[in-house]
């Protein structure tokens, strides 16, 4: 069976895997974004808290993903749970860091002006600071997503969902008829998904970044 025949033959299974992969990454990205921006908002004002948040999240990123999943199995069990926890933790760093950098980068005279015309702290954050910091935050989200696409493949090690299953199965049965096709299909699938997500982010950027600050 050549690769093309394999794809046609197994397209049902492949699509399911791809859908689960995308869905896992998407859901973890939503959680990571909410958490990451929140951590950024809470810590950016203080020098040490901001640096601590960046330090902690970057330390998490240095743990090999396979080890992280392995370490999580005894705590949260097999399947979806370790996948979600791992992906969310890894997704945090770029978002937290870019949120802090973005919020700190807002021109202080604008913050001064916002306060001066009578905006409350919350209003200032929502109407002025976050919209101005949004382009770097969105970049962080984009980088996170690309990274999670790859890391999600490792989740199959803990019986997680997604295209990683194909890759692991293929590697385990190297030499057999469909082994190479499986690895190839898994890898290419991840690349295609990553590109699709990236295109979606470009679109989101066009829609959500004000024309006044778009580069």
């Amino acid at each position: 069976m050549n690769f093309w025949e394999y794809l046609v033959n197994r397209h049902q299974q492949l699509l399911t895997d791809a859908y689960q992969h995308a869905s896992a990454v998407f859901q973890c990205m939503v959680v990571a974004t909410v958490l990451g921006v929140l951590i950024g908002v809470v810590t950016y004002r203080s020098e040490w808290a901001g640096n601590l948040a960046t330090l902690v999240t970057s330390t998490i990123l240095t743990i090999p993903s396979l080890a992280m999943i392995g370490l999580l199995i005894p705590i949260v069990g097999l399947g979806v749970a370790p996948t979600v926890v791992t992906l969310t933790l890894y997704g945090l760093l770029p978002i937290v860091r870019n949120s802090i950098v973005g919020l700190r980068g807002v021109d202080p005279t604008l913050v001064d002006a916002a306060t001066g015309i009578g905006m409350s702290r919350l209003k200032r954050l929502v109407r002025i600071e976050l919209p101005l910091a949004w382009p770097p935050i969105l970049t962080g989200i984009r980088v996170s997503t690309q990274m999670l696409m790859g890391i999600a493949a490792i989740a199959a090690y803990a019986s997680g969902p997604g295209l990683g299953n194909l890759i692991f199965r293929g590697i385990a049965s190297l030499g057999s008829a469909n082994a190479l096709n499986q690895v190839l299909a898994g890898t290419l699938g991840i690349i295609v998904l990553a590109l699709l997500f990236d295109a979606a982010y470009v679109l989101i950027g066009r829609l959500t970044i004000s024309r006044g600050i778009r580069v």
Binding site: L110, D112, A113, T115, I117, G118, R211, I213
Partner: protein, 410 residues
């Protein structure tokens, strides 16, 4: 147009101390700013003038002292509420780049709960007020505007909710000198219409003279060196610090205090580009002057036509005459007018109205007479003051001598 006129502001023993610094940044400032008055804080950088200004809307919380606006003690009310009643314009406009011009102006009216339709009307009105065409500028983003236009929108935003008080923190510090001059003229015109209480911070003494009803010259820690009208500060600086700040050329600076509208604006023969050539010829001959002023279709000064210009240009209006380089408005200072007269080789400058239309001319003779009168009046004032000073000084010396004379006996 505007419902609320200025409110008076009282600052009472206002101080600001920062932790870890034994010297207060602002030390015990007490002053009263009358309703509808433009007061300028001027002083060297780091003298605390900005800090003092920011304490009025409590962007910087005073460490001690009291602020009253229209008699109401606002030292401890909710600062957010206070700031919505006090307009605030800052250097480089402080416009929010991600919002359109209209959204920027609408911010405060929306926050205080105006209806959408009222806000929309107000935005148009404010744009018109600061001399920007609402249709054209409404949907633009700040980065699509020039520095001067941004600054105008900044002022429009500060005034949008019609606050009785307007605080301006070096608002024209970041624009080029020509635009700056225009913006200053514009502010004078606005203030004549609106009668707000304006507190304006600058380090430029010339700007202070041009704009202020009264000027507070501040030295370090916001100590008031002199708080008086520009005329009084120019003719009677209180001490060496103030005279150092006034700088050289006080006589020329005096010209900044009088405006074109204060001197005689004379009529001058004009013709319009729409007039037939024959009419222009006739007016030139009948005028009894060397030149005649040619106005364009909208009545704005266009060219100076000399006798013979038309002949030389073979009857073509497009080629004849010299272009009008510079015009002044009625709000321009005599210094601007002098400048314009000196650079224009006709020895006079056209005065224009709000939309640039011709209203009259000012010539060298008028200016010289006015300057002469001004300086003469100042000299008299100064002599009187000198006399007063000498009297007090001799009284002091006298008292001192008496005192010394008394000491040995004691």
């Amino acid at each position: 147009m505007s419902e609320s006129h200025g409110a008076n502001i009282e600052l009472e023993n206002l101080s600001k101390r920062y932790p870890g610094n034994p010297q207060p940044a602002v030390d015990n400032v007490t002053m009263e700013i009358k309703a509808g008055e433009t007061v300028i804080f001027v002083g060297p950088s780091g003298c605390g003038k900005s800090t003092t200004l920011k304490m009025i809307n409590r962007l910087i919380e005073p460490s001690s002292g009291r602020i009253r606006i229209n008699g109401e003690d606002v030292t401890h009310i909710d600062p957010v509420k206070l700031r919505r009643k006090v307009g605030y314009a800052i250097q480089a406009s402080g416009l929010f780049p991600h919002m359109t011009v209209a959204q920027n102006i609408a911010l405060v009216p929306k926050m205080i709960g105006w209806s959408a339709s009222r806000v929309r009307e107000r935005v148009e009105e404010m744009l018109d007020l600061v001399g920007l065409d609402p249709g054209e500028f409404h949907g633009r983003y700040p980065r699509q505007l020039s520095g001067g236009q941004q600054q105008r929108v900044g002022v429009a935003r500060a005034l949008a909710a019609d606050p009785p008080v307007l605080l301006m923190d070096e608002p024209f510090g970041a624009v080029d000198p020509i635009t700056r001059d225009h913006l200053q003229d514009e502010l004078i015109r606005l203030q004549r219409e609106l009668h707000k209480t304006i507190v304006f911070v600058t380090h430029d003494f010339d700007e202070a003279i041009k704009l202020g009803d009264r000027i507070a010259v501040l030295r370090e820690r916001s100590h008031i060196a002199q708080f008086d009208t520009p005329e009084a500060i120019l003719t009677n600086p209180a001490d060496d610090f103030v005279s150092g700040f006034v700088g050289a050329g006080a006589a020329l600076k005096r010209l900044n205090l009088s405006r074109v509208r204060d001197v005689e604006i004379t009529d001058y023969p004009t013709v319009s580009v729409d007039d037939p050539l024959q009419t222009i010829f006739n007016s030139l001959r009948a005028s009894g002057t060397n030149e005649i002023l040619l106005l364009d279709k909208r009545g704005r000064p266009y060219k100076w036509l000399r006798r013979g210009d038309l002949m030389r240009a073979k009857g073509s209006l497009a080629r004849a005459g010299t272009l009008v380089h510079d015009t002044v408005t009625r709000d321009a200072t005599l210094r601007d007018a002098l400048e314009a007269v000196l650079t224009d080789n006709t020895g006079r400058v056209a005065v224009t109205g709000r939309r640039g239309e011709y209203t009259g001319v000012v010539d060298m003779e008028t200016l010289m007479n006015s300057v002469h009168e001004l300086l003469e009046a100042d000299r008299l004032d100064a002599m009187e003051h000198q006399h007063e000073l000498e009297e007090t000084r001799s009284a002091l010396t006298h008292a001192e001598q008496e005192g010394h004379g008394g000491e040995p006996k004691a």
